[in-house]
């Protein structure tokens, strides 16, 4: 496949997704796609850590939740008592600004976790990241004055954007949010693609493959780990912010470990360390529940299936679906006489 084919394939995918709402007028299905899209963005950001630097970050939902909470709080405004009579208050800000603050704040948290991840690796890093997410959940649960605790932040405003020449767009309801999520997903894809193809990206991959070697040839390990974590956390925060302004309610359970697990399953199933992996995994696990529901499968059975599927994937497709398909494609293409495609081409053909 040449570059032109790759580009055409990417464009046709985007065109397909852009025109989808025109012929698919089922609003509920659109809702499923929006939620799936948000999780795909989060999974793509996790893939940067899990797939490209090889850090098993199991606290990823913390960045997603922080993005959701920060964006909600900045757009709703708040007043808290810090010490005695001293209060800190914030007037409600426009949603786009709130989302920007959320991305930056999540990125900042990523910076700190990135620093820690240099100190501790392997099992220790996993446990630190899980603990970090759990602490954020407990803060959201107990800091009633700021977060409303288990009562949730409700009535979160939706995004309003004034676009020159078009006028103001209200991101309320299914259709505008579908396009918002699609746009954010494409943006995330492009950012991650540029990053992993850059010098920094090659350094990260070298790091994953052989850290001592990478260090010995002069790669600054900490710098790239921190860079990857900051970008990854910021994008997860963006996903969280989009989520908050779409569902318009956030509660502390957004930090639950199960959501990290959902993202991990998406990445691992699709193929970690591939650009298309989280998208394929995300589509499967985002849409599968609705398909299963058609067969009246109970949600518990569905989760049992997920768990078993995850084990089977690790045993039989340890690289994930996308690399497996890529290999199959190459074998098939090789047998039928066409020259084997470069390993990365098919993988990177999706938006």
């Amino acid at each position: 496949m040449s570059r032109a084919v790759t580009l055409a394939s990417s464009l046709s995918w985007v065109a397909f997704l852009v025109t989808l709402p025109l012929w698919m007028n089922d609003l509920y299905f659109l809702h499923v796609l929006i939620i799936t899209g948000i999780f795909i963005v989060a999974a793509m950001s996790l893939n940067l850590l899990l797939g490209y630097t090889g850090q098993l970050s199991l606290g990823h939902v913390a960045f997603f939740g922080i993005g959701a909470y920060v964006s909600s709080l900045v757009s709703l405004g708040f007043e808290i008592h810090v010490w005695g009579e001293t209060t800190v208050s914030l007037e409600p800000k426009p949603v786009w600004l709130a989302m920007l603050v959320a991305v930056m704040f999540a990125g900042l948290c990523g910076f700190m976790i990135g620093k820690i991840s240099f100190k501790v690796r392997g099992a220790y890093f996993v446990i630190v990241s899980v603990s970090f997410a759990e602490v954020t959940r407990l803060v959201a649960l107990n800091w009633l004055e700021l977060t409303q605790g288990p009562m949730a932040l409700n009535n979160i405003p939706y995004l309003k954007l004034g676009i020159p020449g078009v006028g103001q767009i209200d991101f309320i309801g299914k259709l505008p949010n579908y396009y918002l999520v699609l746009g954010v997903a494409i943006l995330t894809y492009v950012i991650i693609r540029r990053l992993v193809r850059s010098r920094a990206g090659r350094a990260m991959i070298a790091l994953r493959e052989n850290e001592p070697l990478a260090t010995s040839v002069g790669i600054d390990v900490t710098r790239f780990l921190v860079l990857a974590t900051v970008v990854s956390a910021g994008l997860a925060g963006l996903a969280g912010a989009v989520y908050a302004h779409y569902v318009r309610i956030v509660d502390p359970d957004v930090f639950l470990f199960i959501y990290t697990v959902t993202m991990v399953i998406m990445v691992v199933t699709g193929g970690k360390g591939t650009l298309a992996g989280p998208i394929v995994g995300g589509l499967i696990f985002g849409i599968l529940p609705e398909v299963l529901r058609g067969f009246e499968v109970m949600p518990e059975i569905q989760w049992v299936v997920y768990g078993v599927l995850m084990i089977l994937i690790v045993y039989f497709l340890p690289e994930g679906i996308v690399p497996a398909l890529r290999d199959a494609w190459r074998r098939w293409a090789g047998r039928s006489g066409t020259p084997p495609a470069r390993p990365t081409v098919v993988v990177e053909a999706q938006p």
């Binding site: 220790y124 759990e134 049992v304």
Partner: protein, 290 residues
């Protein structure tokens, strides 16, 4: 002062079961290099088995505890043989993913089997507490503490005094060398996972009658076990024992004097601090990280 003594007593009692949880997890990590995400599910399994035997079948309370632990050991052995044996030598992330898959499947099977409604287990002890001046403690909790102490002691004897324990220690120090010396690694791994699982099930079976049982109780148990193990240093049994008590004291005093809402946050804050300043844990001998 009375309030402090009461908090200290509560912490002491809770610390025993925390230590059980921690020892099980630290054994599995130390010997097998597996971060066991199913640990909390074994805890829940122990609690549900207790519910089944005591409340549904009507078995004797003491017999039920023994049965719940035995079933926990058996389930642990099955998990090791079916899921982990074929992953021997795989990297730690791979086994972790398998254990996460197993955890999700097990938790939802529990939910299917027992429904999401919390179950409570009757204990045969008088509900009037043992009173010592201004402080008091229920007989059930005292019993739980006593059994936990016995199990901790028994585990230590097993590790220090038996042939199996010797093989386990040898594997812990150097797997290849142990294998060369004729230690059967497969047996050691199965025994270790079964023992660790049995201890988690024991903690569940003991705390089930004190609190209530519901399908997601294992999640917090897992996270607390992680905290304890990090506190004590991965792979250290005395560390896990002391870590269990430290966590219980921090939680209880934090809840009593700071805010009850942050009770469960204590452990995690502790983990983050320790890993920042003393990553090998408070009590670990020199040990490689990872």
């Amino acid at each position: 002062m009375d309030q402090f003594l009461q908090h200290a007593l509560n912490a002491m009692i809770l610390g025993g079961t925390y230590a059980l949880l921690g020892i099980g997890l630290t054994l599995i990590f130390g010997i097998m290099r597996v971060v066991n995400f199913t640990h909390g599910e074994l805890y829940a399994f122990g609690a549900y088995m207790m519910y089944m035997w005591v409340m549904l079948i009507g078995a004797n309370f003491m017999v039920s505890i023994v049965l719940a632990i035995a079933l926990g050991v058996a389930l642990g052995a099955v998990i090791e043989i079916v899921l982990l044996r074929r992953l021997r030598g795989a990297d730690i992330d791979t086994t972790m993913l398998v254990m996460i898959g197993a955890w999700i499947a097990m938790q939802n099977i529990e939910q299917l089997a027992w429904s999401g409604v919390a179950k409570s287990i009757n204990s045969p002890f008088p509900s009037a507490p043992l009173v010592m001046g201004a402080i008091s403690v229920s007989w059930t909790r005292l019993f739980v503490f006593a059994v936990a102490v016995v199990l901790i002691a028994a585990t230590n004897v097993l590790i220090q005094r038996t042939r199996l324990g010797k093989a386990m220690r040898a594997t812990f120090q150097d797997r290849e060398a142990a294998a060369l010396m004729g230690v059967r690694i497969d047996t050691v791994h199965t025994a270790t996972f079964a023992l660790g699982s049995g201890l988690a099930a024991a903690a569940g079976a003991l705390l089930g009658p004190v609190f209530v049982v519901y399908p997601t109780i294992g999640d917090l148990a897992s996270l607390k076990a992680f905290a304890i193990v990090i506190l004590g240093g991965l792979g250290s049994i005395p560390g896990a024992t002391i870590g269990g008590f430290i966590l219980a004291f921090m939680e209880e005093l934090g809840a009593g004097y700071i805010s009850s809402g942050y009770r469960d946050a204590m452990g995690f804050l502790l983990i983050i601090l320790i890993l920042l300043f003393k990553p090998t844990g408070l009590f670990a001998r020199k040990e490689r990280i990872g």
